[in-house]
Symmetry: C2
Subunit: 214 residues, 2 copies
Amino acid sequence: MDTTQRTDQERSADRRRRELLEAADRVVLRDGPGASMNAIAAEAGITKPILYRHFGDKGGLYAALAKRHTDALLEALRAALDAPAERRERVENTLDTYLAAIEARPQVYRFLMHPSEAGTPNDQGFDVGLHSVPLLRRMGEELAEVIEERVDLGPAGQQLARVWGHGIVGMMHAAGDWWLGERPCSRAELVRGLADLLWGRLAAAGDKVGGPGF
Amino acid sequence: MDTTQRTDQERSADRRRRELLEAADRVVLRDGPGASMNAIAAEAGITKPILYRHFGDKGGLYAALAKRHTDALLEALRAALDAPAERRERVENTLDTYLAAIEARPQVYRFLMHPSEAGTPNDQGFDVGLHSVPLLRRMGEELAEVIEERVDLGPAGQQLARVWGHGIVGMMHAAGDWWLGERPCSRAELVRGLADLLWGRLAAAGDKVGGPGF
DNA sequence: CTCACATGTTACTTACGGTAACAGAGTCTG
DNA sequence: CAGACTCTGTTACCGTAAGTAACATGTGAG
């Protein structure tokens, strides 16, 4: 039948696609986000045009690659976010999950956060936003959803939840990036510090009086 | 005299440098961060090697360009941060200053936040961190300093201040990026929402009981 | 057998970062 | 005044990487 054959072919194509993505993964992990299409093709044991037939262009390959990791991370985060525990504990677990992930595989998350020139040739002139890292956006939306369905924020709750979702994700990302670079403290300390920040300790803390020129 | 002449030359070189940077600025504003060295040279009315003599490589030019804008923005932020007002008001003013800046010139901040491939050829294999956007880091450190010298956070205050500095800056950045892309609300509303988040409203809010499956 | 099609290759074009080598103008020194 | 130095500028080139065109080969269907 036509159908079965098409399915066979599609199955084969899908398998091939996965193989290619795994090869790309290895190369990106080894060479960083600047990995060339040639290198990826070589790693997969084939040549460039095949990659282009499967993924269109470099951006397509990178998008597919990013989706895999993003999905995996989001699933882990969802689990931490949905666990049955107090809010503070859930927040800390989520932060810790994220940080553990970027700690375990820094190159992957460097790639996800900085897709670099993926689309350099075209796309000139558009505003900030679209180019921006898809992982951050997706995490922000995801978190916003959880906040909105769990926390009572009054009438404008939905909008506020989105603001917070993106804000918190950005906080986590920037702090994680900095932490990964300098390792100024343990992961647990970082988690605690960020959770304290979200818990309003900035507002609660007193002024420093002994400060210079004050 | 040797000195006066050297000074003359230096003065001239500096002026030239400024002219080149202004040309680069125009091009980057027009073409986005992917602007080519050729395009920049053409805009400045000269050719590539001159750019390379002045800035070493593309990364150097981009760094110089970024420094200009970063310095300008940081100065504005410092003013908001140092204003004589209550903490909450200072925080809101600082957030608003940042958001107003990225709203006024989105391309500039897109460039600052995503220096892209600046150093693609070499630097393979290093961990996350160094590549990361200098503006975010500088803002984070700056804010950490202000927090540390103004807010009493107890014994581990310095470290906590740095965590918070980077965290808050990341929050501001991610939320700003998202807001700029979707414009889901007014600037004032965003500022208020973020300040509320920092003021512990997440911890204070109650659970939503009427939610689905709960 | 032959047509259609998927899979693969080689070889090319184009564009960009970066550099070498050369050319002219002004200036300082013998 | 002659030559050396330096600053500014050029053209022409190299290496690398994205992306494409054209060609080769194997395989199942009619």
